[in-house]
């Protein structure tokens, strides 16, 4: 019945992107615009003893210089944390520091100038007298003497979040044949979206109305925070627009200082104001990702049965609690520790610690890749100890297809899945047994070839609002979708989701065109503007199709119902006898298909409105708010083959296979693109990427010269396949597709490298698996120092 669902419709966005005609915040130029520059701290931790801006203020073309106290006096509030729970301490976060800086890149002063170049010149002329303080950079801060990041906290621990029955877990571990115990690190990553963050603001003084253009994944949330917390302009006098946005990966979810500074400046000087981050600024201000240190214990019996899991994690929060930061190592991490497996008892706990580093928040996968990395690594180590094939050990513990919905010991209820089926598919796609045979031969020839496997799950499509708010969210995580049918039958679709690379303008048009039986060309999808969109929660957590798409289906159902009612009236039949043909976009009387009305004809009848059923309103438009009843649970099985050059330690990624089950698929091309891009991003963490701080809190990998991003030539052709197990609880049957590739590929590749080194006696190595680290492990092993 669907003409578009499941087909690879070409992206309607692409012509404008590929021809350089995207409309980004950085492209906005308004008459009389001023440019904002931010003076940033060169030190990780210091007291501000004084700021001398006199030379900058005297520079030709400088309009004003503002300090932190100026903003406070001007009504600017602290940036709030939008996810907190009992016992979570949330220190204040002023957009511009007042008395202390807490990370390299922290804002110390603001320059307003006639050009970006003058602003930059003026920044060089501001003298800040900083009195250095000792810095703390590590997440793991057991009781002891540490420099305190926020003097109103007794320690740097913002929260402790335990889940599960620790006594039962300890008892089960004590009774297990084997306990695999390991210290893990999940290194800090720097998102590096292609487009740097940017903000433009325009103050309309007569109407006391502010428009803010910002690179956000969720403009309504930014408007709410600006209105209620930071800027003090009431929400109905605020318009926040996120036009084309060049990638986010989570880093553009959060409310940033510059989003407050720029509109505040625009009102202050009564001229439009603009700020665009340089790449150097992005490195030290965009919220970073991951940065966990953990200790884990997995109990396994001789026959391979998992008995219990105990995980303690220290999560680096950075200098301030970013908008959703406490969510990531808690409800998006501990709750995912069951994986695809029946583990009878699990205990997990997370400590969130403040440090003198850039704040850490959600980054593609957000908590779930950390959980998968830990679990899928320790399972591989267990397989090695038991002498079992890693796939066989996992298969032995899989949740079976007839056990859904499945209640895990860590709160979540999995919706649907066929995990054994997925295993069969990946074994077929990858030729797994042949890979192992070839590996044996290569090893016999002295080569270090590794085959890595992982099977991962994620909770996507957040979230039932009651559950989210119960866990710490400040707002419900439903989504809205409106369908407006114009007099000629053409359709505008308004979604609260936001596209910054996902292709919503295409996939949501596919959904609505199918639901209403109209040509896809007649549907335009509009997003990212609080004045045009009724309300929105935004795009993250692979939620757009499952939550935003479902809201549109609800609205389409309402439109169809209204069309049927009108058709019944016009055809003088009972509404119960009306049949809506979603292929043709017609409404007919059951049993007499010649007696029918077309979509456009009915749409126009709502405009003439001269012959409507008694009591029916003119106009054809529907708005819906969809609140999901559960997360969706996509899952994957990936296989990688690597070869290590023993002389240098370099890793060559030779083969990669992925089978994912993301439920029903709206646009296979776009889903495959998400999976492929995700795999590349995850490979970045496994092999290359690392936000490295020294003990003084200086970021040592703060540019593209030192922070290694994945490149196309680092990859073989990736072979992907799908299994489709619909989610039973949303109308499209879809699950999240945006993060699975990243979640799975990181640990798959890491497992492959560790598998290559296993014959030498090398145990666990932290990521990124760089040449030097691997060569050192090889040398240590050959000197008898292997683990």
């Amino acid at each position: 019945m669907s003409r578009y669902m499941g087909t690879s419709v070409k992206r309607v966005e692409d012509p404008r992107f590929l021809s350089g005609q995207g409309k980004y915040v950085g492209n906005i130029s308004l008459p009389g615009m001023v440019y904002v520059g931010v003076k940033r701290s060169p030190l990780a931790h210091a007291t501000i003893k004084g700021i001398d801006a006199s030379k900058a203020e005297a520079l030709d073309g400088v309009i004003a210089v503002y300090k932190g106290q100026d903003l406070v006096d001007g009504g600017v509030g602290s940036l709030p944390c939008g996810w907190t729970f009992d016992g979570c301490l949330t220190p204040p976060h002023h957009p511009v520091c007042i008395d202390k800086v807490r990370h390299v890149g922290d804002a110390m002063a603001v320059v307003v100038a006639e050009s970006p170049s003058i602003a930059e010149d003026a920044l060089d002329l501001i003298d800040v007298d900083l009195d250095p303080l000792p810095a703390v950079i590590h997440a793991r801060q057991p009781k002891g003497e540490w420099p305190i990041v926020h003097s109103d906290m007794e320690s740097n621990v913002s929260y402790h979040w335990p889940l599960g029955d620790e006594e039962a877990v300890n008892a089960a571990l004590a009774a297990s044949d084997h306990v695999i115990e390991l210290d893990f690190a999940n290194q800090r990553l720097i998102p590096n979206a292609m487009e740097p963050r940017a903000c433009v603001a325009q103050w309309d003084a007569p109407d006391e109305h502010m428009t803010v253009w910002t690179t956000s994944q969720n403009p309504h949330t930014i408007r709410l925070l600006l209105g209620a917390f930071t800027l003090g302009i009431p929400e109905h006098k605020l318009r926040v627009v996120s036009p084309d946005v060049g990638g986010g990966f989570g880093s553009k979810i959060f409310h940033y200082p510059e989003e407050v500074i720029v509109p505040w400046v625009a009102r202050q000087v009564n001229r439009p104001a603009k700020w665009v981050a340089t790449r150097s600024e992005s490195f030290v201000t965009d919220r970073h990702g991951r940065d966990h240190e953990s200790t884990a214990k997995l109990g396994v019996n001789d026959d391979g049965t998992f008995t219990a899991l105990h995980v303690s994690t220290w999560a680096n929060m950075g200098a301030y609690l970013s908008t959703f930061a406490p969510l990531i190592p808690t409800a998006l991490y501990i709750t995912l520790l069951s994986g695809l497996y029946k583990i009878p008892v699990i205990f997990g706990e997370a400590y969130g610690t403040m440090t003198n580093t850039v704040p850490v928040d959600a980054y593609r996968g957000a908590g779930r890749p950390e959980a998968s990395y830990l679990l899928e690594t320790i399972i591989d180590l267990a397989a090695r100890e038991l002498g079992m094939d890693p796939i066989e050990l996992r298969r032995k513990n899989l949740i079976q297809p007839d056990e859904f919905p499945y209640q895990t010991p860590v709160a979540l209820v999995y919706d649907s899945g066929n995990y054994p089926g997925l295993f069969e598919k990946i074994e077929g796609l990858s030729g797994y047994s042949d890979l192992r045979k070839a590996q044996d031969e290569a090893r016999a020839g002295g080569k270090l070839v590794g085959v890595g496997f992982s099977s991962c799950i994620e909770a996507s499509g957040p979230a039932p609002s009651a559950a989210a708010v119960g866990l710490g969210a400040a707002i419900g995580l439903f989504e809205s979708g409106s369908i407006r049918v114009h007099p000629t039958g053409k359709i505008s679709v308004f979604t609260g989701s936001h596209a910054h690379g996902q292709g919503h303008e295409t996939t949501f048009a596919q959904v609505v065109a199918d639901e209403l039986g109209v040509p896809i060309e007649d549907v335009e999808v509009i997003h990212g503007d609080t004045d045009r969109i009724q309300y929105g929660v935004g795009t993250y957590g692979s939620r757009s199709a499952a939550v935003g798409g479902s809201a549109l289906v609800m609205s389409a159902v309402k439109i169809r119902a209204k069309l049927k009612e009108l058709a019944a009236h016009l055809l003088e039949a009972s509404v119960d006898d009306m049949v809506y043909d979603q292929d043709e976009g017609t409404v007919s009387v059951a049993g007499s298909p010649e007696s029918k009305k077309g979509f456009a004809e009915l749409a126009f009848a709502f405009t003439t409105a001269d012959n409507l059923p008694e009591g029916m309103e003119p106009g054809l438009e529907a708005t819906s708010f969809y609140d999901p009843v559960n997360f969706t649970f996509p899952y994957s099985a990936h296989v990688a083959q690597v070869e290590i050059d023993p002389a240098t330690g370099e890793v060559e990624l030779q083969k990669y296979f992925a089978v994912d089950d993301v439920g029903n698929v709206i646009n296979p091309m776009i889903v495959e693109g998400q999976i492929l891009g995700g795999i590349a991003q995850g490979a970045g963490q496994a092999l290359w990427e690392h936000g490295i701080y020294d003990e003084d809190g200086q970021l040592l990998s703060g540019s593209m010269l030192s922070y290694a991003m994945p490149r196309a030539d680092g990859f073989p052709m990736i072979e992907v396949d799908r299994q489709e197990t619909p989610s039973p609880h949303n109308p499209l049957g879809v699950k999240g597709a945006g993060e699975m590739g990243t979640i799975a590929s990181t640990v798959t590749i890491s497992n492959a490298v560790l598998d290559a080194l296993a014959p030498l006696g090398v145990g666990y190595l932290e990521m990124p698996l760089t040449a030097e680290k691997i060569r050192a492990a090889i040398v240590a092993a050959s000197n008898g120092g292997g683990e």
Binding site: P116, S117, A119, E120, D121, D124, T278, R279, S280, A647, T648, G649, E650, L687, W688, H690, I692, L700, S701, M704, L705, S706, Y707, A708, M709, R711, G714, T770, A771, E772, R775, A776
Partner: protein
């Protein structure tokens, strides 16, 4: 990423470039791939840029017994050079620089004048014994590669000189050259770069050999100890590895490290790349 304000002037001839340089005290810019990033992060702030990028006479490779490579020849042009006796190591190294955009824009002259310690071409030119031509208002002089690279981002060029060309000998049939490199995965610069020329005598033994290495120290350097270790011997993998070890012993204490690769690691893997360059170079000698 806004440089300090600067003036921009363009030269159409070498003479005009020298005049503009002395008048303005500015800096030459060709492809701009080394200078502009430094200006954007404000590590350098010239008052004037003298654009020499359109002096057509400085672009291209001429064969005249040896080869004369104009200073404005792009890396892409060097990488594509297919003449039979053009040194293989040179086109090989040029193909390993940056990415296609960088190779299409970056120039040989700009690269060597910038004298980045992790750059590829200085290493190859050192091994090939290239000659650099520097022109000033008072005439021109030729500088041997061994004298050209003098320090970290420092060359023998004086302030009133412009680099116009680099000369290398053609490769005799009995000799071969090669470049082997460990890439920094972020910057694509050489963590370790090794360039080798190997001559093979009628007896099949190594009759001539020069090895230069880059990426480790302040500038590319020729390691005579490597040649000594191999001369008169057949170029077997065993002998190449021994010669590689000689490189490690000869490199000295001034090896630099960074967050990606420590000094010790660079030293430890240097023999691997020297041996690879030697083996490939020998295989190219007929």
């Amino acid at each position: 990423m806004y440089p300090r304000p600067f003036e921009y002037v363009r030269a159409d001839t070498v003479d005009q470039a020298l005049d503009l340089k002395s008048e303005t005290g500015g800096r030459f810019i060709a492809g701009g791939h080394s200078l502009l990033p430094l200006m954007k992060i404000r590590l350098t702030a010239p008052d004037t840029l003298v654009d020499i990028g359109r002096i057509d006479g400085l672009r291209g490779i001429k064969s005249n017994g040896g080869f004369t490579i104009g200073a404005l020849t792009t890396h892409a042009m060097v990488a594509a050079e297919g003449a039979g006796d053009f040194p293989a190591a040179l086109s090989e190294a040029a193909a390993m620089i940056g990415d296609p955009q960088v190779r299409n824009r970056g120039t040989v002259g700009g690269n060597v004048a910038h004298a980045d310690p992790a750059s590829d071409l200085p290493t190859v030119f050192s091994a090939l014994g290239a000659t650099f031509t520097a022109v000033s208002k008072s005439g021109s002089r030729e500088i041997a590669a061994s004298d050209f690279f003098t320090g970290l981002f420092e060359s023998a060029l004086t302030d009133d000189e412009i680099l116009t060309e680099v000369k290398v000998d053609g490769e005799p049939a009995s000799s071969g050259s090669a470049y082997a490199k460990l890439f920094n995965p972020a910057s694509r610069y050489a963590v370790v770069g090794a360039a080798a020329t190997v001559g093979v005598g009628d007896d099949g033994n190594c009759s001539a050999c020069t090895v230069a290495v880059g990426g480790l120290t302040a500038h590319a350097m020729v390691l005579d100890a490597v040649a000594s270790a191999l001369l008169g011997k057949p170029v077997t993998s065993e002998n190449a590895e021994a010669a590689g070890q000689a490189a490690k012993d000869a490199i000295g204490d001034d090896v630099m490290g960074d967050v990606y690769a420590s000094a010790d690691y660079r030293r430890d893997v240097l023999p691997v790349f020297v041996a690879r360059a030697l083996m490939t170079a020998a295989s190219r000698a007929s």
